[in-house]
Every structure is written in structure tokens, then in C-alpha cells.
Symmetry: D2
Subunit: 137 residues, 4 copies
Amino acid sequence: MSAKPPHDDVAARLTRSPFHAWLGLELTALGEEWLEIRMPWRDELVSRKQPVPLVHGGVLGALIDLAGLQAVYAQGGKPSGTAYMHVDYHRPATKPPFTVRARVLKLGRTLSTAEAFVYDAAGQLVASGRGGYPNSG
Amino acid sequence: MSAKPPHDDVAARLTRSPFHAWLGLELTALGEEWLEIRMPWRDELVSRKQPVPLVHGGVLGALIDLAGLQAVYAQGGKPSGTAYMHVDYHRPATKPPFTVRARVLKLGRTLSTAEAFVYDAAGQLVASGRGGYPNSG
Amino acid sequence: MSAKPPHDDVAARLTRSPFHAWLGLELTALGEEWLEIRMPWRDELVSRKQPVPLVHGGVLGALIDLAGLQAVYAQGGKPSGTAYMHVDYHRPATKPPFTVRARVLKLGRTLSTAEAFVYDAAGQLVASGRGGYPNSG
Amino acid sequence: MSAKPPHDDVAARLTRSPFHAWLGLELTALGEEWLEIRMPWRDELVSRKQPVPLVHGGVLGALIDLAGLQAVYAQGGKPSGTAYMHVDYHRPATKPPFTVRARVLKLGRTLSTAEAFVYDAAGQLVASGRGGYPNSG
């Protein structure tokens, strides 16, 4: 662990990933404990079109995974990747943009844990979960 | 539960989803117990480029989620979506194409459970996990 | 879903289970959103004695599982059991008594989700997790 | 990682834990890939008595957790504890004795992963899951 990186470092680390850039992710808030990332709509992310188009659960899982990792990084951790994640799906994700809020549960020497909550444009919780991130040492 | 659908129904259900179509997924095997889906490389799926490009963990999670759901469907279940998933990451996903193999653990009246294993082109296990799928009744 | 049950109903449901009674569980707080259950030390719960005795992770998992179910019940849900749970271990559980705090994430028609956090006597987070609980209809 | 320990070491490590001894656990098989542990009935483990007594889900979770750790140890790993676990519940656990079968999914340098399946006396799958175990170095 080291000092917390400045806002611009966290924002830059988020979008450096080609997948994150393709998703159109943006760091929208970085607080003492929580950070917030926004994801816009993309037609390619649709799971099924009927009766109303909804975002694929795998994409929401990716959001939870990556937001947790960014939260560890923002707290001064050195996450080298993801060891595991767990996702619960609560409601269909039909109303963009989506916002994921994440915070660290435990900043560990070898493994850190974070939780994340995905909300739709109406502020409804659509998915939530947690991940574990090994430190690169 | 009902009779197992024929191969072509399972293959068609898989690619009907815009996200699955964008990923380029293909049903490559459908056995008594296991089914197998192949995913090719796409540059947009890359998590980071250095030292060698690797597929984003969220995409591997999506593969596990969707393969489990297809396995429930292939056994005659009526999955309406995903309730939860858990994913373990074992190795960097650098060698395409990737193959996910899935099978049902329990075909339930209200909730079915499946597990899935993602392999790279060298046959190495890169990720694995499980999901729960509510029946639509 | 129905009206929230009174405090004494929640406390009585908790200790009706022989396993809960053997663990010596007690409902210590029941708020609008969170409930709190206390677990004392028992020598039979020890995972290993050296260098200092610590409670078995399986017991902490049981605490998370049951606290989440009680939280669903306390919100007016009708949990028939547990469908799945996920537990993260943060620190060795060496300082009794332990307190688990749980709250509902989503009260659903067919499945409810709750999260729970286990603290030791020093207020340190030792484990946390989440569970899914099917409604009995 | 090191050489696989002999059968008697694995059996002894299992029952050295006071909680395991109280549960009455016994190593019943140790194969190349899988190991098997048996758990008898105890009245204190009952979740609810009506309509028929069943073992508490938290106890089944503990079985999955500990069997996975033993599987890592049996393969030559050095598990220092459990980092996380995920459990799926498939059927009520009413028919003792119970048998848990576990195997390693990935023996890692810093984290190993294992999966485990719990069966009742009739051979029915009652619960299954997976855990992650950090290596002590």
C-alpha cells in the first residue's frame, strides 16, 4: 500500500483499458470512501430486445469487477487483477446511463476486497456484488 | 421443465442476443451433460495490452454466466435470466479462441444452478464459476 | 411480502433453531434497516488453537447466512431457506463476542438478497458476505 | 508447493481442529484428484425440526470450506486459511451421514481454488461450492 493516487491518475487508469474505453466508462466521483463510474448505453450490450432492451448481466458483472478494482487502486492498493467476483442481479437494467459505486471492504497485504452497487438512471439498484484483488506486491 | 430442445434451438437461442452476436459466440458441442461454446478474439475485449494483451475478466464472467444459462435451457429448463454468479480467475486469458464448457448442477423448480469452465486455445483453465437461474414458471 | 413482524417474533425465530440455540445467538438490535445478532465464544468452534485460538470460518459463514435470512424475515419477507451464499474472510476471528449486522439488499417476489458483516469485540471487520433467500410464496 | 503429504498426514490435519473433531469428521477416501470426508448426524446441527429435521446450511458451508482446504493441502499446497467461499444449496440435508467430495481447481503460487460437493446417504447432491485459499508462502 502507498499514498492515495490523485483523481487524474484514477480516471486515467480506468480508461487506459481498451474494454473500458469501448464501454465508454467515465469516473464521475471520487470520494474518501466511494468512487463512482458511469456507463452509457450501447446497442451491442443488449441481452435481449423483447419486451424491452436490457443490458447483459455479464456487462453488469464486468462493471462490478472493474469498479471494485479501481476502488482498491484509489485507496492506495496495488491490484494486479481480479481473483474472484460474486454478482447478484436485482432488476432488469433497462434505463441508462448506469452508475456503479464501489468501496473497499478490506485493504489487505496480499488480497483486497471491495463491494460495488450498480444503479440505473432512476436510481434503482439493478445489480451488486464484490470482488477480491491480489496485490502485485 | 420440459423435453430437451434440439441442437438448433440451443444454437439459435445463444446467438439471438445482440451481445452474444457481437462476441461472435458459437455453440460447438452439445452433449448429454455438457455443452461447449467458443469465443474468438476481439480487440475491444482487451483488459490491458502490456506485457501481452489479455481478455477482460468481466468478459470471462459473462461467458460463464451465459454458458450456465444455456446449459439449463439445453436440459429442458426455462431460465428467465440470471439471479447470481460467482467467478474464479485462474490464469491470464491470452490465447484465443476460448472455449467455455458448462453443465447443470441442479435443475430446480424455481431456481437452477450450473457451473462453467473457460479454457484457452492451449487447453489451460483460465476461469471457472457458477450461476443461479430462476425459472420463468 | 407482508407487514414487518414485531421484535419478539424476530428474536424468537432466531433462537428456535437448535443450531442457533447451541451457538448461543441473541438478537441485540433491530432497526429500520439493519439487525444485529451477537455470538459468544464456544471452545467447540475453534478452527485451530495455535498461535491463538480462532473461530472456524465455516461458523462465520453460518452467521452471515442466518443473519441475512433473519434480515429478510424482519423486513416482511417469507424466506423458506437459503439458495446460496458468498463469504469473504478479512481477519482472524480471535476476540469474542462477535456481532453480525445484516440488511436486505433487495426484497424480491421469488428471491431476496441480503448482506452481512461480522465484527469482533474490538469492532474490527472479520468477515462479510451475502446470501440469497427464496420466498416460500 | 511441495510433495503430496501421505494419507495419515491429511487425516490428522483434518481432525486436529476442535471444530472438525466436534463435527465427527473422518477422511474416508484420498485419491489422485478427489478426497472424501464423512460427517455424521448431530442434533445440535439441526436448522429446523419440522416437518423433518435438516442440517443447517451454515454447517454444509463449513463442510465445503474445509474440504476444499484439505484438498489443497493434499495436493501439496500450503493453505494458511480461507480467503472466500461460495455455496449453492440444492436440496434439504435430511439423510445422514453426509459425504463431501473436494478437488483442487487451480493450485496457485499465492492463491489456490477448490470445489466441493456434499451428498446425503442416498447419494443426492445437497450442496456444492468453491473456496479460495491463500498460500502461507
